[in-house]
Symmetry: C2
Subunit: 159 residues, 2 copies
């Protein structure tokens, strides 16, 4: 394998950044996610790569439901807050105020670009990240002035 070419080509895949929120047994997950694609029109499916050894993936497996909050182009500082585990304080996570999603009452950040409320339909556990296939059940758009793209952050996640 040409490792440098593999690394570069995987890093060239465009990705945006999102905050995934979920809850199970009184614990919350709220994590920055970048590996995501659409995967079907009917039903509307998305696919995420979620670190298999993470607290977030544990919660996700138990809850089967999650919200994917889209970060706006100028919200890199918020993305950075969700690299580590946080639990809610009053109605905030890492200082960011949230409301509750319509279906499963999961944290939604109204000051981000919008969100998808999803339910897990399948999980493939084969690598260091699990492939989570999920159906979109509800959605809300807050602002549409562009997403936070991984390529603009100076961070690297991929390769």
């Amino acid at each position: 394998m040409n490792e440098p070419a593999k690394k570069k080509l995987l890093q060239m895949i465009p990705h945006a950044l999102y905050i995934l929120t979920a809850e199970a047994n009184g614990h919350h997950a709220a994590s920055t996610i970048s590996w995501m694609t659409q995967a079907s029109f009917k039903p509307p499916l998305i696919v995420l790569g979620v670190r298999a050894d993470s607290f977030t993936f544990d919660i996700l497996k138990q809850s089967s439901n999650f919200v994917l909050n889209y970060l706006g182009a100028d919200q890199k500082d918020i993305a950075q807050k969700f690299f580590k585990h946080v639990e809610p304080v009053d109605n905030t996570l890492a200082g960011e105020p949230f409301v509750h999603s319509p279906l499963h009452k999961l944290p939604v950040f109204p000051h981000m670009a919008g969100y998808l409320e999803c339910t897990v339909v399948d999980i493939v556990e084969h690598g260091d990240h699990a492939v989570v296939v999920a159906e979109v059940l509800e959605a809300e758009l807050s602002q549409a002035n562009g997403l936070l793209l991984l390529s603009t952050t100076g961070w690297s996640y991929g390769g």
Copy 2:
């Protein structure tokens, strides 16, 4: 469901464009693909959404191996040639000359940005597109002057 918000948010996911090539029983697949993400570092996995009723997906299921050719930023005209089924003529597909990949002798276009040679490790058939989980086995980078992003083509695929 807020359908307009769902549509818009799915269309906001950044995607590039690739030509997937595969071969089985003397037939070739060569199709433009946009739904793709990385999904693991070790092993290096990617996930694709491939139309479940397509000739390409039939071939992919039979061959289990494929090449993902990355389109360069200025190769929209090439992307357009692979919306419909084509079979090779001499060593060209839709007029584009190809060579053979190192492992499975599948079509590689050396004038594109690079390619990943992959093997299918799992398939989830749940929607109008199949979720194809694949391991990257080989890679080659030809040029690194940017990828053809769906958002720059004026085309829409998602929502």
